[in-house]
């Protein structure tokens, strides 16, 4: 059961007395081979869980840095199958959990059942779908569960307490807390303390669910979140990929260095 490995990744970090580190980069950016190398480099640099974006052009949640990555991948002809193949390849050599983050239309276009089948065969641990909110996603979430894939519900600062409780009640082992009202890659506009207050509320309601904190976290702030369950850095990495490509440097190496640095900050 892949879902159990995902939980283990969190627990391993907890044992280290730190939050788990997640990275978000767009699968296939800029091409299949480089993307696989980036994942490997990230894994080698000590990440706990990899979030792999299955980019969508008409997304309504990505900030500029991730949009750039998405358009680069899409215009290089990357298809959904390519993403699965990258993950499949990656998982041949690595234990690191991979979560797919995507938009509903990508899943619909592939076919829900086919999508899940391919998740299993390529050893995807979980799915985040930005524009498939609770409770509309419950049928699909159930299917995920039946296939031992964690469907990760999203929560945010304006999710009121009733709704929070209901979502948590239906949620699988892992949830995702969007730290602020924004798209990805914007400056953190709420204080780390405020975020942790909400995080604690979630944990109070569901002590046994792992809660990933995302949006706006960079090397500057990551240390604030070391005593949470997990946090994601995304846009900063995507920007690094863009920079590396523009300056004809090796994105895998540079992203890897960045991840090492993040990991260290989180551990210190």
């Amino acid at each position: 059961m892949t879902s159990s490995t995902l939980i283990k990744s969190f627990e391993r970090a907890k044992e280290d007395n730190r939050a788990a580190l997640l990275t978000y980069t767009v699968g296939g950016d800029p091409d299949k081979k480089t993307s696989l190398n980036i994942f490997k480099s990230i894994a080698d640099s000590g990440v706990d869980i990899i979030e792999c974006g299955l980019g969508h052009g008409a997304n309504i949640g990505d900030g500029g840095a991730i949009q750039d990555s998405t358009y680069r991948a899409l215009s290089n002809g990357i298809k959904t199958n390519d993403i699965f193949e990258i993950i499949e390849e990656f998982k041949k050599d690595y234990e690191t959990d991979v979560i797919i983050m995507t938009y509903q239309n990508k899943i619909m276009a592939y076919g829900e059942d086919d999508f899940l089948k391919r998740c299993i065969s390529s050893k995807v641990s979980g799915i985040i779908c930005v524009d498939w909110p609770w409770p509309l996603n419950l049928d699909f979430a159930k299917k995920c569960k039946e296939n031992s894939i964690v469907f990760i519900q999203l929560l945010c600062p304006t999710t009121n307490e009733d709704r929070l409780k209901s979502i948590l009640n239906d949620a699988h082992e892992v949830v995702y807390y969007i730290s602020m009202l924004s798209t990805t890659g914007q400056k953190l506009k709420v204080s780390s303390d405020e975020i942790k207050k909400r995080f604690n509320l979630i944990k109070k309601i569901s002590p046994h669910k792992k809660c990933i904190i995302g949006f706006g976290i960079t090397a500057d702030t990551i240390n604030d979140f070391k005593d949470t369950d997990a946090c994601v850095v995304g846009s900063a990495l995507c920007r690094e990929i863009t920079r590396s490509i523009d300056e004809e440097l090796n994105p895998a190496t540079n992203v890897g260095n960045m991840v090492s640095d993040l990991k260290q900050k989180l551990s210190s």
Binding site: A58, G63, A109, P133, T158, S182
Partner: protein, 409 residues
């Protein structure tokens, strides 16, 4: 899938916001859940609030210019020699199209929500222009998202918006056109929804936006019903209402009061694009696949990867890869019939109507509707009444039309 009688079309969705259990909905990021619930609550209150209704009516009358004329096209009727052709001249609304209704209502709602900032998307610039006008009137800060390509080719409209004090944001992602402008506008609202209100420019987007927009444009058929009774003394036995369909806000408003009249045929005309091309902006006619776009389930022009495909139409206003859930629903229930007209047919229709009627100079969007009327009228009897919604004025298209017809501009 079944249409109910006696219930407004906009209310025939299920608890999740789906019409026919299938079209529409709120496929949005969690960050938008709260503002959408808030807006839904507020709108349900306002639509039953008499002060609000009379405020709306005041501005519809005094600013949008309701009622717009309902006239017989005598010359065109004679020329085609079949059905009697009438026209609802919505192009006489402020700004030259039906987009003003929605802009006014959203601005009023924005004020009621206690927000002082409003944002909206625009393609050709109509929706944005009218939102800027309304925002200036109601003292709201305004931000308009517009594809960078559209900013270039509709620079006059950009200037107008700016002169009304709006901030125009060129959107550089994707195809740099309307579809990306809507996406970017939603992203902006995701960040700013605590302070700001969002206006979606057509009957698309999450359910509540579909509802507000169609509720606003319903003014068209509400006033037209009176005009029809004045003209005929009764609802004509054989009447066909033809409307172009881009997002679908104009058609939804034009048909709203007539949906329960089974003898009235509703015909929607999508953009067929250039003859011989396959990049049509006609999701209903082409039976394209169902997908999720801008937060709602609908027919979407997309490839097998779920990526939105570029569409191509001479009419900027119809150049949208999705279509309102309302129309998906009307199509599947069989209540409305959808077809398309090509760029060339629309151009010819524009010429025929302008030359014959003078006062009616449809923009390229309603020219698609006229093309269908011109196609079917000659085969119909004098007892058939065709009403075309001339929902836009050609002024904005002069340059495009002139170039296509070989005039030097």
């Amino acid at each position: 899938m079944k249409l109910e009688k006696g219930i407004p079309l906009i209310d025939q969705h299920d608890e999740n916001g789906y019409w026919g259990g299938k079209f529409g909905g709120n496929q949005i990021a969690e960050s938008l859940n709260y503002p959408i619930e808030e807006l839904t609550r507020e709108f349900e209150k306002l639509r039953n609030d008499e002060t609000f209704i009379s405020e709306r009516d005041y501005y519809f009358k005094n600013f949008v210019g309701a009622p717009t004329p309902f006239i017989k096209l005598e010359n065109l009727t004679k020329h085609l020699g079949g059905a009697q052709i009438y026209c609802k001249l919505v192009s006489k609304a402020t700004g030259g199209a039906h987009k003003a209704y929605n802009a006014v209502v959203h601005s009023l709602i924005c004020k009621r929500l206690g927000k002082t900032y409003i944002g909206g998307d625009t393609g050709a610039g109509y929706a944005g222009k009218m939102l800027s006008m309304a925002a200036a009137k109601f003292n709201l800060k305004c931000k308009i998202f517009m594809g960078a390509k559209d900013v270039e080719r509709q620079s006059i409209n950009v200037f107008s918006m700016r002169s009304y004090g709006a901030e125009v944001i060129p959107v550089n992602s994707g195809s740099q056109t309307l579809v990306d402008a809507v996406s970017e506008c939603m992203r902006w609202w995701t960040s700013e929804n605590e302070e700001a209100h969002m206006c979606v420019g057509s009957t698309v987007g999450p359910t509540i936006f579909v509802k507000i927009c169609a509720w606003s444009t319903a003014q068209i058929s509400r006033e037209m019903k009176k005009q029809v009774m004045d003209e005929f003394g009764e609802v004509p036995k054989d009447m066909k209402l033809i409307n172009c369909v881009g997002g679908g806000s104009s058609a939804a408003g034009f048909w709203n009061e007539w949906i329960d009249y089974d003898n009235i045929e509703l015909i929607g005309v999508e953009a067929g694009g250039p003859e011989g091309s396959s990049k049509h902006a006609a999701p209903l006619t082409n039976d394209s696949r169902i997908g999720v776009l801008h937060g709602a389930t609908q027919y979407v022009i997309q490839d097998d990867q779920g990526e939105i495909e570029e569409t191509e139409s001479i009419s900027a206003g119809l150049d949208y890869p999705g279509v309102s859930p309302l129309h998906c629903f009307l199509k599947e229930t069989g209540r409305a019939r959808y077809t398309s007209a090509s760029d060339e047919e629309a151009l010819e229709a524009f010429q025929l109507v302008s030359k014959n009627e003078g006062f009616v100079s449809p923009s390229l969007e309603p020219s698609h509707a006229f093309a269908e009327a011109i196609k079917i009228a000659p085969k119909l009897s004098k007892d058939t009444i065709i009403v075309v919604d001339s929902c836009g004025d050609s002024a904005k298209d002069s340059k495009i039309i002139a170039e296509r017809l070989g005039y030097k501009i």
